[in-house]
Amino acid sequence: MTRIFVPRDSAALSVGADHVAAAITREASQRGVTIELVRNGSRGMLWLETLVEVETSSGRVAYGPVHPEDVPSLFEANFLNGAHHTLSHGLTEQIPYLAKQERLTFARVGITDPLSLSDYLAHNGYKGLKNTLAMAPADVVQQVTDSGLRGRGGAAFPTGIKWKTVLGAQAAQKYIVCNADEGDSGTFADRMIMEDDPFVLIEGMTIAGVAVGATLGYIYLRSEYPYAFDVLNQAIAIAEKSNYLGENIQGSGKTFHLEVRLGAGAYICGEETALLESLEGKRGIVRFKPPIPALKGLFGLPTIVNNTISFASVPIIMDKGGEFYKNFGMGRSRGTLPFQLAGNLKQGGLVEKAFGLTLRELVEDFGGGSASGRPIRAVQVGGPLGSYVPPEQFDTPLDYESYVGISAMVGHGGIVAFDDTVDMAKMARYAMEFCAIESCGKCTPCRVGSTRGVEVVDKIIANDNRAANIELLRSLCDTMLNGSLCAMGGMAPYPVLSALNHFPEDFGMNNKELAA
């Protein structure tokens, strides 16, 4: 019986994967052919969705983008044997976009049925936990430290150091909290992990719990991800039933319970202390640090707060060792990062690569240039608080430190491309507007500065006392950068200043005026 794979990832669903699956089932039954339809995760080649795969003796053959009306012709062309069709791309694993990647965290994504525990186990799942359960907690933390893993949410704080602090803290209860409030525009790696390989996140959090002696974990999930909510809850129920969660996990005597909590549309709750407030049932207002969450976190108790991808990277580290993971990457940026290619690109999708590749490789080689066919003028890297990078800087290697060197940030790996029709003054205005809408309101530079920022950019655009207002905007950005309590107000100036510095003509200035 032929196995056919049609993704259940919400990106695939958003362009009709369910309709394609239904059409395949219908067509097969009309033709009297028995097939096994597997709803896998997405391979991350999102421009090819709905990407249908057929299992053959030489491997899985890909067809895409498939629409329901293409299905009869696929059967006609004998796609069940992997035959040629105008939509075929040959063996999936040999498609350059995928073949050139280094998939560690996303090793199983797109290959397995996300809710099949046996699939997960057959593809190296729970090996990391098995090793963890046989080790002393301090040795587990040491492995994570040795791997060089840094927080994948954007702040890039060394994960092992955070874990060590929580391990050393004395308390009756400790918590593991997953920051799944993936609010940055242009990012969807967390969503894909949760929808397409939920057990890897569950395993990563369980390892964290066992390592530091925390028995309760929460996944704080943004409410914009209803599909992920559903998949996570199902996966947790399966893990509980199979004794991978709960009391006495796999006979180890260790306990770990896990619960998903929904956010409610507040971007600021991606900031770890605001997230904790929200989990406690309060307004998502940023806390002063210190105390750090590792010592006084959820309900005032020691808490590991890590990003989804950080946790999801732990199982392979604990399976293959810190040294293995550390061998990928460059400088102090070790391992891989799932980059997310978005916006105006021909080939948007997920590209997991070791740190050190360039934006040019991502945008041109993987992304295939702009979707509109026009030249790419700017790329925003690292979400709404990340800088706009002009083509002159496309060859800077993507690692945390090199990007800091050009006043930009890698962040969560979101890559949003714009063609030459973009108005960068409008984008600068939007950055301030977004900050004004989403500011928690606790500190003045962010709360008031963002609103004033919108007004000042409006004046610049309207040529109202332009030179003086540009100076004022720079001064305002300086106040926000240095005076804000958290990264929201502290980084909102990055897109604004990078737009101003790299694209002064959009603000009605020539370069000479800028220099003056």
Binding site: S10, S14, R191, K282, G414, A417, F418
Partner: protein, 151 residues
Amino acid sequence: MSYTELYSDLVNQPGALLPIFHRIQERLGYVPEAALPEIAHQLNLSRAEVHGVMSFYHDFRSAPPGKTVVKICRAEACQAMGSDALIEHAEKCLGTPMHSTSEDGSVTLEPTYCLGNCALSPAVMINGELKGRVTPERFDALIAEVKGVAK
């Protein structure tokens, strides 16, 4: 009317307030003002605290939404693929501006900031279902589809 029975199983959870709001909104479509004093009493919080949390989060509504809720992403990746024009089109074709419900109560139009579908932008969510690569033409077809179902 008492709302307590909607969420009585959640009251003893740590940090119960957001789950309670979500539950009420899931069941009623919004969180009625009258439910707030009850919740405050149940959780031993002040009414001001409960109101503060309710009004802090964009998700929670104090009035019932339209039959169909349309959320259009305004974030950068969608802007790069023409979401501004899509929003203009949607406002015109639905006859209601952003942040509001049409007079006949059939549709609520809201902005959202990233639906995690940034490679297939512009992205839209219609009654909780994610849609990608939404051109104005596809938007009209999706709305027609949902209205057809609603009838």
